[in-house]
């Protein structure tokens, strides 16, 4: 594909503008307890039931680092091919808000736990590398609820103190599509690592989106605006689209862009100014004196490295080399860890002499269609990998045809039935006995003498007619390959 054709540009009269995007992704660390307390992080609990004295900032309460969260952050750093900092510092970010009980958020400012890294995106026109600036750990705030009580704002502190990883990209993204691919790739890596569930509905993955525009070909960055706390890929894309156009319009009108924080209104599909640079908070960052600098040893990091599973990029490479899949197929199978797991389990159950291509086609075709229509994840698949493997083998060894297999598959969905049994019970076994098929075909030729003559005289199209008749006569169970062979011989 020509790279030029896929470039995302905003056109105005004679001018073309490039969009520059950087993301600050907030990914909730997958952990049982919070970053500095032992309270549960479980989603959906009754308000204020998962709040310790530390989370609610009672007098004299002190934070104690949850080592598991540290490990999760380092693992994520390794997954992002990033530099792990052996010494990092927790700082206090000071500001007042009702859902911030301490009056400060414990975060990492100058010395984050993870430094520069990169992720590779598979775009239609090839691969693109996106730089990672840093990853740091921080506490989540509580939740202010403004619409439950007419007079008061209510506060739920269940989220207060939950560990977040803030993953800051370099301003390397150039289109909403790349943002889509980037978020999906990050999510994929973290799900492989088990460090974040990536569940955007539950708020486990949110992003602040930095957008600026510049004339195509320019090397200088434009003034950027930060769109706060966008919680779905679709909204990110819509927000970027709107914001980039807004900025281009300002430039076209000869106006200047103010560096500011903006908010995306999902109902009106527009961004609105929250606060300008002049009104920006002075967070008065300083090292948290309740916590000593965090130091990790080489061995600590090495042990975690040994614990890293095969990640999507490596898996993709292996699938292409080992299973002779196309990059496209491999991509589909590796992007979600559960799909990859399912696929590999199917391959394992298929045993020797397996038709990998067939399995891939059936997973990405029939299985995905069923999951889609039922709104299920592959981890909830109504057909187990084991039975799925049996079905593929039944096709491969000629027991059933592809067409019959579709019928069998339909029947398997209800209760994860064994396809072998379905085939036996319903008598769906493919007719592959050449003698029986010869008899059947001879009968058809006799019944259609005139058409047989026409065929011999050169009307080759009629071959399909005879195949159809034979299949019909066998109730669809005849082995189509054999029918082809016998027909060619007999006609």
């Amino acid at each position: 594909m020509n790279k030029k054709n896929t470039e995302y540009l905003i056109n105005r009269k004679d001018n073309q503008y490039e969009v520059v995007i950087g993301l600050e992704v907030h990914a909730q660390v997958l952990s049982e307890s919070k970053l500095f307390s032992s309270s549960s992080t479980k989603f959906g609990a009754e308000p204020n039931t998962q709040v310790s004295l530390v989370d609610a900032a009672f007098p004299g309460m002190l934070p104690v680092i949850n080592e598991f969260c540290i490990k999760q952050a380092i693992k994520t750093g390794i997954g992002l091919n990033a530099k792990i900092n052996k010494r990092s510092v927790f700082d206090r970010k000071n500001y007042f808000y009702a859902d911030l009980p301490q009056g400060y958020q414990i975060s990492q400012f100058k010395d984050p736990i993870v430094g520069e890294g990169k992720v590779i995106l598979d775009m239609p026109n090839g691969q693109k590398e996106i730089g990672i600036e840093r990853l740091h750990l921080e506490q989540d705030a509580g939740k202010s609820i403004h619409d439950l009580d007419p007079q008061n704002t209510l506060v739920d502190l269940n989220r207060s103190g939950v560990a977040l990883m803030e993953i800051v990209s370099k301003p390397d993204l150039r289109s909403p599509d790349e943002v889509n691919a980037y978020i999906k790739k990050l999510r994929s890596i973290m799900r492989y690592l088990g460090t974040c569930d990536g569940n955007m509905q539950e708020g486990s993955l949110r992003a602040d989106v930095n957008v600026s525009v510049r004339p195509k070909g320019s090397k200088e960055f434009g003034t950027r605006c930060e769109i706060k706390n966008v919680n779905s890929i679709k909204f990110m894309q819509m927000a970027i689209e709107y914001e980039a156009n807004r900025q281009v319009d300002l430039i076209e009108e000869g106006k200047t862009i103010n560096q500011e924080t903006r908010l995306f209104d999902t109902k009106k599909n527009e961004t609105r100014s929250m606060r300008s640079k002049e009104d920006a908070h002075d967070y008065r960052y300083f090292p948290d004196p309740d916590l000593l600098p965090l130091e990790v040893s080489d061995k600590f990091i090495e042990d975690l490295k040994n614990d890293i599973p095969e990640l999507p990029d490596d898996k993709k490479k292996r699938f292409i080399e080992e299973f002779k899949l196309s990059p496209y197929e491999a991509n589909i199978l590796v992007s979600d860890i559960d799909t990859a797991k399912y696929f590999e389990e199917v391959l394992a159950k298929m045993g020797k002499n397996k038709d990998i291509k067939l399995a891939v086609n059936w997973i990405t075709g029939e299985l995905f269609a069923v999951l889609n229509s039922k709104g299920l994840e592959i981890s909830q698949s109504p057909v187990s990998a084991k039975n799925f493997a049996i079905l593929i083998n039944l096709i491969k060894n000629g027991t059933i045809s592809g067409k019959i297999a579709k019928t069998v598959f339909e029947l398997m969905i209800d209760g994860d039935k064994d396809p072998q049994k379905i085939v036996e019970e319903k008598g769906l076994k493919q007719q592959s006995d050449p003698k029986a098929l010869e008899v059947l075909i001879e009968k058809i030729i006799n019944e259609n003498r005139e058409k047989a003559i026409e065929y011999k005289q050169g009307k080759e199209k009629l071959f399909g007619f005879f195949v159809g008749q034979a299949m019909k006569a066998s109730g669809g169970k005849a082995n189509p390959q054999l029918i082809n062979e016998i027909l060619k011989k007999k006609l």
Binding site: L53, A56, A57, F58, P59, G60, M61, L62, P63, V64, I65, R92, N94, F96, A98, P101, Q102, G103, Y104, T153, V155, D282, R284, Y285, F286, P289, D290, L291, L292
Partner: protein, 485 residues
């Protein structure tokens, strides 16, 4: 025994263990004296009724193996005590009742002690005279209208006035040692990381440390032994081998090298203090130790450094008192208005001053010039001590530049008030242990203290030196009971 309250902790423990006294006898005696001593205003909250119940319960089934068997004790109102109001001397926590216990007080109750009540202190431990307390001045038992020092003023007054046999205070820049010096008692600020900060209302996290205040060195050693434990709930708690301070206490300090830092001879220091220090040097020599002149070149930067670091941390530590979750809340038009009114009405002038200083020094544009510079200087001050300790085992200085002053004398001059901590502050900045022992009287008959500063985790050594000096000094506190009618 009529004079129960005159007994030291060590004597009381012995008498309870020998069954010459019951916990009820002792508890009653201190309650009665406390009740007669309301003019000192040492207590913010008393818990006398339940203290007596606990004493009776103890006597029914006395566990005499404990280190503080049935000993009644009042503590500074900065320690969170379960189900007992904890105010930190502030209006903003006037109604705050913790559901939890600080580790240090927990350790004390676990050794058999009984809570008498919560002692007055400067608001959030910010002050050197106990005059910033929302609950009023504390009187010094030494003389009427004399400050007891601060911030652990109520604690010092209660020990000197014999309202409690012993107590614990907290020391961020001198808050144990300075009031100990002003009231003629012993006060130890342990090494940073020795006593858990869990459950202590925070002032400046990197400096705060709890410690014992007692009538004598031995009592002080015993209480230190009880309160100093490693605590995983405090990330700055340090897991080191802790001595049995009271058991290992010895007066044999022969051959110890004691440093005398020339920089502590500050401009305008009174002759009385200079003489006291010289006497101290002589006592140390009399005990068989050797004194060596040393230099701590960055001493003069300690006070300005402290008044950047401590307010910076305090401004952040006190952000949680916002009227949202607990404590005092003023009515406001909206959230910001509520914050502003709550904090303006809930905090006193000195606390507000320090919050403003702290906020200023952390602000972008000023951070490097103040906070960062202060951190660098703090490191230099620590290096000074490290250098000195290559040559000496401990350092002897005066505890304070003067004796106790009159109530109201310095309230309008914060800088002169801050200067009170000139000898104690470097010790906090360096995280070292320091003990103040009463060493003499000034012309007015007010007590004066000497400070012994030790190496980190070397509490035993400074306790030993103090123990040896105590015998030579033979200090007698002049308590006239002027406040008892």
């Amino acid at each position: 025994m009529s004079d129960i309250t005159k007994q030291s902790l060590t004597e009381l423990v012995e008498n309870i263990k020998n069954k010459k006294l019951s916990s009820t006898d002792v508890t009653k005696a201190f309650i009665q004296r406390s009740e007669k001593s309301s003019e000192l205003n040492a207590y913010i909250t008393d818990d006398f009724t339940s203290a007596l119940d606990k004493a009776k319960k103890f006597d029914q089934k006395p566990n005499l193996d404990l280190k503080l068997p049935g000993i009644p004790m009042a503590v500074k109102d900065l320690f969170c005590t379960k189900n007992i109001k904890t105010t930190a001397g502030s209006k903003i926590l006037n109604n705050f009742v913790p559901t939890y216990e600080s580790t240090v007080t927990e350790n004390i109750w676990n050794e058999g002690a009984i809570l008498l009540g919560k002692l007055n202190c400067d608001e959030f431990a910010m002050g050197s005279s106990n005059e910033t307390s929302h609950f009023g001045n504390v009187q010094n038992p030494i003389d009427k209208d004399l400050v007891p020092g601060g911030s652990s003023g109520g604690s010092a007054s209660a020990v000197a006035g014999q309202l409690t046999p012993i107590t614990i205070g907290t020391d961020t820049g001198g808050s144990i040692r300075q009031p100990a010096s002003f009231t003629g008692i012993v006060g130890l600020k342990p090494t940073y990381g020795s006593c858990s900060r869990y459950g202590i209302v925070a002032f400046a996290s990197s400096l705060d440390q709890a410690g014992p205040m007692a009538q004598n060195v031995k009592d002080c050693a015993l209480l230190q032994e009880v309160i100093s434990t490693y605590d995983s709930k405090d990330s700055t708690s340090i897991n080191f081998k802790r001595n049995h301070y009271s058991k290992e206490l010895t007066k044999n300090i022969k051959g110890k090298k004691i440093g005398i830092p020339k920089e502590y001879r500050v401009d305008g220091m009174s002759k009385e203090i200079e003489d006291l220090w010289q006497k101290g040097i002589q006592y140390v020599k009399d005990c068989g130790a050797e004194t060596i002149d040393i230099s701590l070149p960055h001493t003069s930067y300690a006070l300005p450094t402290y008044y950047i670091v401590a307010p910076a941390e305090a401004s952040s530590n006190l952000a949680r008192y916002d009227g949202v979750k607990y404590g005092y809340r003023a009515k406001g038009e909206n959230l910001i208005d509520m914050y502003e009114k709550t904090r303006s009405e809930g905090f006193g002038a000195e606390v507000q001053r320090r919050i403003m200083i702290g906020t200023y020094v952390l602000s972008s544009g000023y951070y490097d010039a103040y906070y960062l510079k202060a951190q660098k200087v703090r490191k230099l001050i620590k290096n000074d001590f490290d250098e000195a300790y290559k040559k000496v085992d401990a350092i002897l200085t005066p505890s304070t530049p003067s004796s106790a002053f009159k109530i109201g004398e310095k309230t309008n001059d914060p800088v002169s008030m801050y200067l009170n901590d000139i000898f104690t502050v470097p010790v906090n900045l360096a995280g070292l242990p320091g003990i103040s022992i009463p060493a003499g009287h000034d012309a007015k008959g007010y007590p004066l203290g000497l400070q012994i500063i030790g190496k980190a985790f070397d509490e035993q050594n400074i306790l030993n030196i103090a123990f040896a000096m105590e015998e030579k000094i033979n200090f007698k506190n002049k308590i006239t009971d002027w406040w008892i009618k």
